[in-house]
């Protein structure tokens, strides 16, 4: 099963489109107020990322990427949101969360980070085709936006979500690279999952023990 001949341009465009949707969902995480919507947004981001991985697997005819996509769906798309909802229910955290910055400054900071990402990838990808440059810029933007979510949202759940969306960004970058071996892709996916689990324990542990950051 392989890609149709001459479908290179359309395949790349579709991969980009999926990457763009992941970026927009990162922006949504910056301002989303309702907790259940935040978890749903994160789940949607994971599913779109899995779709991008599967699509790239089909285009590049690479088993590694298929497996990565499947793992992403299973862990980030299904298991992590279920775990988050369980924790939210158990801790009886309230339904809405506030932002530290206003909506507009947050968005402006997000756009500035996207511009920064574009500037950063410029020297590294001078010789690569334009689409590879866009791929890298998208992935780096998602990483930076995940970090921004972590520091500008007060709720613990959102800090966890921000941390693992950084992992989403890294996966997006890996998925875009051509010819990645199976071991590297699998280990990356498992590392991100491990990071998610550790951060969940860490942040919720702080919250429980110290009465931590405000909800």
């Amino acid at each position: 099963m392989g890609p149709l001949p001459g479908a290179g341009a359309i395949a790349d465009q579709l991969a980009h489109l999926l990457g763009g949707v992941v970026l927009v969902l990162s922006f949504v995480l910056l301002y989303q107020r309702r907790l259940s919507a935040v978890i749903d947004t994160y789940a949607m981001q994971a599913w779109v990322l899995a779709a991008a991985a599967l699509w790239q697997g089909w285009v590049q005819d690479s088993l590694a990427l298929y497996i990565t996509g499947a793992i992403t769906v299973g862990t980030m798309g299904v298991a992590v949101p279920i775990a988050l909802r369980h924790i939210v229910r158990r801790q009886r955290i309230h339904g809405t969360v506030e932002t530290m910055l206003g909506i507009f400054p947050g968005m402006a900071a997000g756009v500035a980070l996207v511009a920064l990402a574009v500037l950063l990838v410029r020297p590294a990808t001078m010789d690569s085709p334009v689409l590879a440059r866009e791929d890298m810029a998208l992935a780096l933007s998602v990483v930076l936006l995940g970090l921004l979510v972590m520091i500008t949202r007060r709720a613990v759940v959102l800090q966890v979500v921000g941390f693992i969306s950084v992992g989403n960004g890294l996966l997006l970058g890996i998925v875009g690279v051509r010819g990645i071996p199976l071991v590297a892709a699998l280990s990356m996916a498992l590392l991100v999952l491990l990071g998610a689990a550790v951060s969940g324990v860490f942040f919720f542990g702080i919250h429980e023990r110290l009465g931590g950051t405000r909800r």
């Binding site: 206003g102 507009f104 511009a115 574009v118 500037l119 410029r122």
Partner: protein, 647 residues
Amino acid sequence: MSRRIAAAGSVGLCGLGCLFALAYLLSGPGSITFTLPFGLPGTPIVLALDGLSGFFLLLLMAVGLATSAAVLDDSGNCEATAPFFPALLGAMVLTLLAGDVFVLALGLALMSLAAFALVLTCHEEPEVREAALLYIGMAILGTVCLVLAGAQLASSAGWDWRFAAIRAHPPEGWRAGLVLALALVGAGSKAGLAPLHVWLPPAHAAAPAPVAALMSGAMTKVALYVLVRLLFDLCGPAQPGWWGVPLLMLGAGGAVLGALRANTEGDIKAALACSTVGNMGLIVVGLGLALAARGADLSTLASLALGGALLHALAHGLFKSLLFLGAGAVQHAAGSRRLDRLGGLIQCMPVTTACVLAGAASLAALPPSPGFAGVWTLFQAVLGGPRIGGFGLQMLLVLVAGLMALAIALGAAAAVRLVGVAFLGRPRLPRAAAAEEAGRPMRMALIGLASVSTLVGVFPGAVLVLVGPALRRLLTTDLTNRAGLLSVVPQNNLRGYSAIGIAVLLGLSAALVVLLVRQRATPGHRVGPAWDCGFRAPPAWLPFGDPLTQYGGASFAQPLRRLLGTALLAASERVDTPAPGEVRPAHITVEMRDPAERGLFQPVAAVRARLSAFAEIIQALTLHRALALMFAALVLFLAVVALMEPF
């Protein structure tokens, strides 16, 4: 009587000046220089006329003609200071015709003094005095900065003050940067460029309406002329492209700030003055883009940007003076210029309202007005800007484009607010209902400005042809293949804006509508009370209804004040609700501060206060202390002399 003589004389001279400038620009004999036989010892006075000064001269004469006609009218209270009006016009002409730095400085100083005298016309009111003091302080600062800039330029040319000599020896390196900074502070403060614009709204609101029209319409443009002359002409064509960046940033910021303040002011003239600040910001964005494009050798883009800026300057001069004269007519007829004391003036002042509507359409940048033509050209230049290159500049241009669009939309809201609250609706006070139509000379001035405005709007290409000599002089490329009588295009082989086409299309659509309505609908109408979902008849002591049941200036601005004002203008509302059981009404107080005032002027004023407090200590010394001070100064001087002696 002296007022009539002064005004009649001004009208005649301005008319002649207009024709002369038009003839000069169309026939294009190139730059003319004449040297007068007197002047400073060793340096005779040089006067020069070229494409750039000719264009600004045309603008000045047109605005001067209309405002002089308005001074003829009885409505202004300009009796005491009327002789300063021709003095102001003469000083501005002198500035435009300057051929060396000395004449330029002289012209600017005379202009500031004459305007100061005119602003003080109603000097009995304390806020007028405060506004005049702030104005003269800023004017002195501006003139000093410009003189320093001129001195720096002359020193690079071997202390030759003439423009021709300065052009031959353009400054370089840090000297050029110094000239840029001084020109921005000096000419920018006179033109109302943010953040040095804080003096403009109080001064233009305090001056009588024809004076305010002249100041807003023409004086700010003269300052703009000085800026263009210094940065584009005297510093030479080889300056780096980054010179455009501070102008782009300051212009975009000022455009948004001015337009937002125009929405929140409760006084018509202050709101119009804030809108002047906004439009100056837009023009400066065009200048900045022209500098950046010139630095990257894209002279077609640079000529489009500079042409757009000059077109918008002309359009703004015309429609802003029209609006100020209308505000003056309203102030005389209805007794107030505050929005919460007017209303329903369309019934008693129909001609004034129709002319003000034409001006307001230009303020809102609606096609086919001249405001739209200027804004369209500026946008085309900004949209073509990314060709200059450099990711930082491209991101800046995107932000500038967004801010320009925000400023224009805020300007449209301000225009609707001013016209809707002051002229439409129900009168808020009986005095407003008793207003009478403006006098003959004022009506002539208003109608004249409105018709010229409409003409410029429908044929913007003609104005760009008039700008041609200036563009050829400064940038060596003009808009000959791109601006014609019928349309303006940004580049060859592209489609552009055809104002006359849009006007014809609108006319045909209107004819179609009238035809459909005549053919199909029932003619005639009935008159009854307003529905308003069941409006009770007003009590007998409020013949025009309660003014609180109608939207006023402050309430119209409330969404914008809440959404943008809290961030930009530090707007805060305080509601004073009576406790249960009290029968007094609730009060709402709204406070706003201009960020430039908070961030720039107040710290400077604080430093000045501390310095003067320190100086007062020295003033109030006892005899003993004064003697001690003199003794200490003498000992210090002797010690310095002793130390400087060789051993």
